[in-house]
């Protein structure tokens, strides 16, 4: 039976999650690139959201949420043909149409997160091809494993809003694409700083608000779990922001805006898998740890590995999502947490297995997808086009016509 309160909240949450991709993530990433590439990032986010939506309609939803096979769903909901007007999603109190649409916004943002790895040098055709294949070959199966009744769900893996399904898949795949695509040609010593830190802050703020829909919406009802997820999400973000600022203040002498809002996103990504399962104290602790660990991860990827994951998708999203997924069992012990079906140790084992299998699957499939893209449409623009900038090269536009 449809519950109007649940339905109203999930429709609202759907709008909030779409807002995370367009324009929040687009602005967050757009401000971090050079002025000559701003439009390319905005177009990429916008187009990936649209491509993912249509693929979700074609077969993505069906393969994720129809059928409970261990590996992949079935094709009964191809073209959403059985989504009738009065259909209620099994086990919930919201219309099937709303469930399809809510989950569609997750399918839209996950491939869009990967954009941060390949900005400023990739071909637009490669973005579309890689994002499409990636949605179907990485996101859809993993979402089915964890949320669609697949083998990870059967083992009892917990992922409230997508630490594994969204952030680990995107973060790990991002670094694979960055390696295969190669660095921006000025990397590491000649790269230019973010062209608009204020825009990064606007994007991060919108992401923060949108994340309420992402995490509290993942309760799929308007009740106690949604409320606690909302509280935990906000506290993790606030704490992580302060800790990242403190780290920069101590290490570099000044707390930066870009650093502060990077901490925000690290906190939000980390609380995502745990949000509905833990209480406020756990959220504060996780937020604090998130900034410390993600700060080190960003330096590790860029400085030690010398991989040009340009906007730190692995360091911030992947590591954050994995951290929350792994610490979740321990954090449930604190006040406000849920009672686990398994022991804390056993649950940790399940979580770690899920993270590792997801990471391995993401690496293998992303290597295959990226190779296919390299053989067909090609991956990179030539060096001169990279110097000119992707805005004019790929889209024939210029981001800022100022005094010219």
């Amino acid at each position: 039976m449809i519950n109007t309160g649940d339905t109203a909240w999930i429709i609202t949450a759907t709008a909030l999650v779409l807002l995370m991709t367009i324009p929040a993530l687009a602005l967050f990433y757009g401000g971090l690139v050079q002025a000559k590439n701003i439009l390319s990032v905005l177009v990429q986010c916008f187009a990936v959201a649209c491509v993912a939506s249509v693929l979700w309609f074609l077969c993505g939803y069906s393969l994720t949420f129809s059928g409970t096979g261990p590996w992949i769903g079935d094709l009964n909901e191809l073209l959403l043909q059985s989504v009738e007007r009065g259909a209620v999603h099994p086990g919930l109190h919201i219309p099937e149409s709303v469930f399809v649409m809510y989950e569609m916004t997750f399918a839209a943002i996950t491939p869009a997160l990967i954009i941060g790895a390949y900005v400023e040098r990739i071909k637009f055709s490669a973005v579309l091809l890689i994002s499409s294949l990636w949605l179907l070959l990485v996101y859809v199966p993993v979402a089915h494993w964890v949320w669609g009744g697949g083998f990870m769900a059967a083992q009892g893996a917990l992922d409230f809003a997508g630490g594994i399904v969204v952030h680990v898949t995107a973060g790990v795949s991002a670094v694979v694409i960055a390696v295969m695509l190669g660095s921006r040609h000025e990397f590491p010593h000649g790269i230019r700083p973010p062209h608009a830190p204020w825009m990064v802050m606007v994007g991060a703020s919108l992401l923060w608000v949108g994340w309420f829909g992402f995490n509290a919406g993942s309760a799929l009802s308007a009740g106690a779990d949604a409320g606690m997820a909302l509280l935990a999400t906000h506290l993790a973000a606030a704490t992580a922001t302060l800790v990242w600022m403190a780290i920069e203040w101590i290490k570099f002498g000044k707390p930066s805006l870009v650093g502060a809002v990077t901490g925000t996103i690290a906190g939000l990504a980390s609380i995502t898998p745990a949000s509905g399962y833990v209480g406020p104290l756990a959220a504060v602790l996780l937020g604090a740890l998130a900034s410390g660990i993600c700060f080190v991860a960003v330096l590790l990827v860029k400085r030690v590995w010398q991989v040009d994951d340009a906007l730190d998708v692995l360091g911030v999203h992947g590591v954050g999502g994995a951290l929350g997924s792994l610490l979740l069992p321990f954090l449930t012990i604190l006040p406000g947490g849920v009672a686990l079906k398994l022991s804390v140790g056993a649950q940790f084992g399940v979580q770690a297995t899920a993270v590792v299998i997801t990471a391995i699957w993401s690496i293998v499939m992303t290597v295959a997808i990226t190779k296919l893209a390299a053989w067909t449409v090609g991956l990179r623009v030539d060096k001169e086009s990279e110097t000119v900038g992707l805005d004019f090269h790929a889209h024939g536009e210029t981001g800022y016509h100022v005094n010219r």
Partner: protein, 112 residues
């Protein structure tokens, strides 16, 4: 006639304008430019990575003056722009062959 060209710190523009107004200099052209001198740019840190900013934002001022006013103008700009720190800029004085006021057709000192 001379053309006084000054490269100054952007935040010193108002005080330079005040000094020039105080000695009754009527015309000033300002351009936003980027460059470096001995200061050689600076470093900014984003997400722990250091970025070399080789070209810093500066303003270029151009003032055309009769020969008799050059010393006053140079001192006014110097007073207005100096902070005593590295990066305060430079002043160049260039011979100016001709000047013409477009509206009236006046030339030479009368056009300034």
């Amino acid at each position: 006639m001379k053309l006084v060209v000054a490269i100054i710190q952007p935040h010193r523009l108002d005080s330079v304008r005040e000094k020039l107004t105080a000695i009754a200099i009527a015309g000033l052209t300002v351009t936003e430019v980027r460059g470096y001198g001995r200061q050689k740019g600076h470093t900014e840190i984003y997400r722990g990575a250091e970025y070399q900013i080789a070209f810093l934002p500066k303003l270029k001022l151009e003032v055309a003056v009769p020969d008799s006013r050059v010393d006053d103008v140079v001192s006014a700009i110097t007073e207005g722009s100096r902070t005593g720190k590295i990066g305060d800029g430079k002043i160049f004085v260039i011979d100016l062959e001709q000047a013409l006021r477009v509206r009236t057709g006046e030339t030479g000192d009368n056009a300034l």
